[in-house]
Symmetry: C2
């Protein structure tokens, strides 16, 4: 087994926890310089000395997205702005955006973390790595760029969109690895087949990192099959730098989260108490290896759980279950809580169905109804009775998963809107009252 | 006077030329590994030993853009592709695109060169630097990003477009410096004034680096006045990495070209012989500090001349005159050679005229005619006789400059198309025969 940083990746839990405590105390000292945390710490009597064990972390209050918004832009900085070299800002469609500040050391540490993830899934300095993320403020661009360069890949900073050009780069430059949004990965594959290119035969692609969008195991398998690659789930969030927070290893059995850089808690989103071992809850993260803008007990709003057991890869950093989506993504319909990814999981099991789908929720009379439109796959029949039978099968499985019965509409390939960026999967047209 | 690298920037000509010869010989040795140059060198009997003085450079044949195209993508690489960490590709609207490969050392050297340029115009690690370039393949994005981070600025990777968001970043983050296309700089200023923001009063902007588009001294002065900044002409080209090739110092008297990294020749574009001291010709560049993809005597197609005399700033690297545009930009009309920038120069002298203009060349009957449409500035009259007098004045000055008489049309502010990227200034609608 090969590792980017064997000593850290395979560190014993005892040593890892010792390192966490050390770094936590150091980070608390540093964060005392931030206008926001100096106040929080004073109000709660927090000092580095008051933290004697990792359990003492719970003395510190949670930090929320609203705290970031209310202290926009520089109120969370723990070092002078002069010593920061990068700012990333969320798009902030409502209210103040959130920003994250980075020192040169932070950027180097982030690049190293991304390199570690990429190395873990078998990417090496001999690979040609094409990044189809947007660049600029979107952290998937510069985050993977710096990480892949640190790893020593030949990087192709293709940026987002322009599918024909992406394909030209892949074939001309001999691209072997991609970073790509899952919905765009299926789209890219479809366009390749449309122009008579079989990516399994006509490209050197072998590994893709898929992220920035919740996706199901079934969609991953579809991407792997269409492109002839191994696809790895990568999780990032801008508040935690961006990509590289947690990443699957080649076992594809959950995402290792790098506990030398963050302390992970999983809490009940209502009671805010730790969930029981193995239960799903909201992930809460504390940065312990970041200087410009440390965050303590940050409520990520992402729902997941710890997976039990040791990973055969030898890494000791704990594994998280595939993310179902953010608590904000949850649809509440007729008193039932559900995630779009549950629907995707069912749809992707049918090879007769394509990869593009759209969920619309609307008020019909006094009822809220769910309409699921999904494209048929290329190769499929237009025999009406066959289609009817298929629709019935899919609907039954959806009902079993969701515990409610959606309206299903099978539509022709190419009839739903196509996105080159993050796919819009849900349209909620419900009247508010 | 402060320098980023005093020893190199103020090196005596003798030492600089000694350094050039050393680096040239080393680069020839290295380039022998490239499929393209190994052939060229063999055919012309070039070895490091055959180069005894800088004059011997002329033994090496010119390299052209077509050579780059014909050896796309990897035929110019002087090191194994595995040791390259970045590829930049031109958009390549016709034929093969061109690519430039970079090693990690090349990227570091490029970042250092950009940092040197930025430092030269007074930008420091205390500054907040917002980059309004496109990122990804366009070198103005990552090129300035790495340079500004190396210098230690707080970088705002805003990327191109979205003017409202650019303005929000400038005001919220206290941006002090911009990298911006000149036509977009005037556009940005106009939008600021439209929304009631006076950039001279309401922002901390003090320095902008303008490049990627030929522009006149008059446009620079206009940008300086509108934004309340010093504006510096920066010249880059993707074949020579990107931004940072040549840059004005605070004297604003021509662009220092970094002769520790390139050897500069200026040749007659027809005879390919060196022009006489001070004459305008095509700039030809040899990279002497790049390992992944050295280029010898690369014909840039950019027209300029050396400026005489020492620069009061103390830097010994020679200064080039403002670029008139590429030889491809030259308009030949009725036997007269002219550049769009000559027209801009005249228009910008009239405060009654805005910053947006469009040149259309079309065949009317048997004649080719030039139409110049230019927007009136905000503050101006709609008194017909005043407008008529203005049109007459402008036309006369254009005639003096161009030696032909264009049709001039003064149009209302906001009536010409607006671009957030490079401005399209010339539409050539002539029938080819
Ligand atoms: Zn593992
Ligand atoms: Zn100077």
């Amino acid at each position: 087994m090969e590792y980017w940083q064997k000593d850290i990746e395979t560190m014993s839990r005892k040593d890892l926890e010792k390192l966490q405590l050390e770094r936590l105390k150091k980070t608390i000292e540093l964060a005392g310089n931030s206008p926001f945390y100096s106040k929080v710490f004073k109000e709660n009597g927090i000092t580095a000395d008051s933290i004697q064990s990792l359990d003492d972390l719970q003395k510190i209050p949670f930090t929320t997205k609203d705290d970031l918004r209310n202290n926009y832009p520089y109120g969370m900085a723990a070092i002078p702005i002069k010593d920061c070299v990068r700012i990333h800002s969320s798009s902030g469609t409502t209210g103040n955006p959130t920003v994250v500040l980075h020192s040169a050391k932070d950027l180097d540490q982030w690049a190293n973390q991304v390199a570690r993830c990429m190395y873990m899934v078998g990417i090496r300095d001999t690979d040609v790595f094409q990044n189809t993320s947007g660049y600029g403020m979107f952290t998937g661009g510069l985050g993977f760029q710096y990480g892949a360069e640190k790893l020593g890949c030949l990087t192709v900073p293709a940026a987002a969109g322009n599918t024909k050009r992406q394909i030209k780069f892949i074939t001309d430059f001999g691209t072997t690895c991609l970073h790509i949004i899952p919905s765009y990965a299926t789209r890219l594959a479809e366009v390749m087949y449309e122009i008579g290119l079989d990516p399994r035969r006509d490209t050197k692609l072998h590994t893709v990192c898929i992220g920035a969008e919740p996706h199901s195991e079934e969609q991953r398998r579809r991407i792997e099959q269409l492109l002839g690659v191994k696809a790895y789930n990568c999780f990032g969030m801008s508040e935690m730098n961006g990509p590289g927070v947690a990443f699957e290893c080649t076992e594809q059995n959950g995402l290792h989260i790098w506990e030398d850089n963050v302390i992970v808690e999983i809490v009940d989103p209502v009671t805010l108490q730790p969930v029981k071992e193995g239960e799903v809850g909201e992930m809460v993260l504390t940065t312990i290896n970041r200087e410009a803008m440390p965050l303590f007990r940050y409520r990520t709003r992402d729902l997941t759980c710890f997976l039990p057991g040791d990973c055969p890869c030898g890494r000791t950093h704990r594994r998280l279950a595939r993310f179902k989506g953010r608590s904000d993504d949850m649809i509440i319909l007729k008193g039932v809580n559900l995630f779009p990814i549950q629907i995707e999981k069912i749809l992707m099991q049918f090879k007769e169905l394509g990869s593009n789908y759209l969920i619309t929720i609307e008020t019909v009379g006094n009822n809220d109804e769910m309409l699921i439109e999904v494209e048929l796959s290329d190769l499929f029949t237009d025999d009406y009775s066959v289609l009817q039978r298929l629709a019935k099968d899919v609907t039954r499985q959806l009902k079993d998963e969701l515990l409610l019965t959606p309206h299903l509409k099978l539509v022709a390939k190419g009839s739903l809107p196509v996105q080159e960026g993050k796919a819009v999967r849900v349209k909620d047209l419900r009247k508010l009252c």
